[in-house]
């Protein structure tokens, strides 16, 4: 395995439930290797989305408290960064793609404006350079007519097109780590294959490691190198994908696999 680019140690996220703190992420630790595609698998409510939000510093203080011994991204401990510094890291060194692309796109601006903003902010490009870079990025996520997409508003695009625009934004700065939370759950199966293929190709070219959060073991089987199985806020098993499907060690993993194959749990 390559050297780790992200090292997470003892990450806990607590939320208030009936005025009592409850750890929805309960002291998890894992490494993400350079260029690796790591799956984080679990059922809804297991804490996988809260893990993603915590890594990106996106858990608002009102929604819960995050503590970690360390979240080290290429030598920087994100757990100790103030929000002002985190803002410079987010989108440049670590970026994200969520399930619903409309939450990441502003409905009142054309996609070109929003994509250019990433280049202007993080790479300090001028207006026309940013536009050229945006066009090129859209072509790389597979748009035949990138100019048209650039001039479109989000509502004028299909779900799969929107998610590819979000991926273009997330990959614009060739981040070291991309956190993708159920990026294709809202999409159709043919669109899903297209989006995941583009995403993994782009990440491969840029050397970006991906933490791919999913409940779909079919996606894990075909697009990921390794997997973490999460249940009730803890990682119950981690293994290389081939190993995981051939010989799951934890009974919970075996049950998830059985359900995915259509066997009654």
């Amino acid at each position: 395995m390559n050297a780790p680019v992200l090292v997470v140690r003892d990450l806990t996220v607590s939320v208030l439930q009936d005025r009592q703190p409850r750890a929805v992420v309960d002291g998890i630790s894992f490494d993400l290797a350079e260029g690796e595609i790591l799956a984080l698998v679990g059922e809804s409510g297991c804490g996988k989305t809260k893990t993603a939000e915590a890594l990106l510093g996106l858990v608002p203080a009102s929604a819960g408290s995050v503590s970690a011994q360390s979240i080290v991204l290429g030598g920087t401990n994100l757990a100790a960064l103030p929000e002002s510094a985190m803002r410079r890291v987010r989108g440049r060194d670590i970026s994200m793609v969520f399930q619903e692309p409309l939450t990441a796109l502003d409905p009142v601006f054309r996609t070109g404006h929003q994509l250019s903003a990433v280049f202007r902010r993080h790479r300090r490009l001028g207006r026309s350079e940013a536009r050229r870079a945006s066009l090129e990025m859209l072509e790389r996520v597979g748009f035949a007519d990138a100019g048209h997409v650039l001039r479109s508003y989000p509502h004028e695009l299909s779900g799969g097109m929107r998610q590819r625009v979000v991926i273009a934004m997330a990959m614009a700065c060739r981040p070291r780590v991309l956190v993708a939370d159920e990026p294709t759950t809202a999409l159709d199966v043919t669109t899903q294959a297209q989006v995941l293929t583009r995403l993994t190709e782009l990440a491969g070219e840029a050397g970006t490691a991906i933490l791919l959060i999913t409940h779909d073991l079919g996606i894990v089987a075909h697009y990921c190198d390794r997997a973490l199985i999460m249940r009730d806020g803890r990682i119950v098993e981690q293994a290389a994908v081939d190993q995981l499907f051939r010989q799951p060690r934890h009974p919970y993993t075996a049950r998830l696999l059985a359900a995915a194959r259509g066997e009654a749990p």
Partner: protein, 324 residues
């Protein structure tokens, strides 16, 4: 497919159109002449991606969507020809379950109240025994009757969908139109509901029209499958025949794009091109722009639905690659 005589539901040449509005004057043809049949106590899965017209088809069958032309026959009776009173009675026989159970359950009504409402509406049973019927429906869908005093938000997603199912069952329908009823659930809950639907089919003799985009669920559940693309049924077949030997290039692309939970199997294949828009009318076969096997005539003529002799009985396809 079964002939009209044995069909519980027959849909003939159904067309659904949405008028254009405002700056988009173009009209959308969501369903373009669909024919399907469902035999009693069988499950027909309508499979397709967003924009394929599968939800419009389901809504038109339920008479929730105006029909531009064509007929929907329940036991041979044209639903559009019924008087409002007759339609109300027919709704006892044809019920619906939707994707989001929260949208079909009132947030302020207990499970029991939601289950009694259809009984009151159809005046089924004496008022005093309606609670017993409601409790029996809960047991039928595998829920603890103790849950009857709960409100929807106090239930899990899987429990809510079971309540929605119980509510559809309580009036004793012969057909349930289920539009993506599993897509808001986790995989383990999906597996349990699939088992429940099969049990309801076998024990109560209920038929289902099951709208889904999830082929792995359809493979386990359906007796027959109709595949839709751009408002058209491009292939229909007994489920076994479809999964063993899909005939239409779109069906094959759909199957090849789904990731099987096994890393030893081939990686999903990408279907090139963008999903079509129902706004732009196409000449020829609905799939020709993305088809890797298209012939010259595919862009000009639309193939008819036919059963080539080389396919199994009841397996029909709209494609020039297959000679009738």
């Amino acid at each position: 497919m079964a002939g009209m005589a044995t069909s519980l539901l027959s849909v003939r040449d159904l067309v659904v159109r949405y008028p254009g509005r405002g700056r988009r004057p173009g009209e959308i043809v969501a369903v373009r002449g669909v024919n399907i049949d469902i035999a009693p106590a069988t499950i027909l899965a309508v499979v397709g991606e967003s924009g394929s017209g599968k939800t419009s088809l389901a809504r038109a069958i339920l008479q929730l969507q105006p029909i531009a032309s064509g007929r929907v026959l329940l036991s041979g009776e044209d639903l559009a020809a019924l008087s409002p009173q007759q339609l109300r009675a027919a709704r006892r026989d044809i019920q619906a379950v939707f994707q989001d159970p929260m949208a079909s359950l009132s947030p302020r009504r207990s499970v029991l109240q939601s289950l009694i409402e259809p009984l009151d509406h159809f005046r089924i049973g004496a008022a005093g025994e309606r609670e017993d019927r409601a409790v029996a429906a809960l047991e039928t869908v595998g829920l603890d009757p103790a849950l009857r005093y709960r409100l929807p938000h106090e239930l899990s997603g899987g429990q809510r969908q079971r309540v929605a199912l119980a509510r559809a069952l309580v009036s004793g329908p012969r057909l349930i139109i289920a539009d993506e009823p599993l897509s808001s659930l986790d995989v383990p809950s999906q597996v349990r509901i699939v088992d429940l639907l099969l049990e309801l089919r076998d024990r109560l003799g209920v038929a289902f029209l099951f709208v889904s985009h999830d082929l792995s669920v359809v493979r386990r559940l359906a007796d027959a499958v109709a595949v839709m693309y751009l408002g058209t049924v491009v292939e229909t077949a007994p489920a076994q025949a479809l999964f063993a030997a899909a005939a239409h290039p779109y069906t094959r692309a759909l199957l090849a794009a789904s990731p099987a939970p096994d890393p030893r199997l081939p990686r999903p294949l990408v279907l090139p091109g963008e999903p079509p828009s129902a706004l732009t009318p196409t000449a020829g076969c609905v799939f020709h722009k993305r088809c890797s096997e298209r012939l010259a005539r595919c862009a000009a003529e639309e193939p008819a639905q036919s059963n080539p002799g080389s396919l199994e009985p009841h397996h029909s396809v709209r494609c020039f690659l297959w000679k009738a």
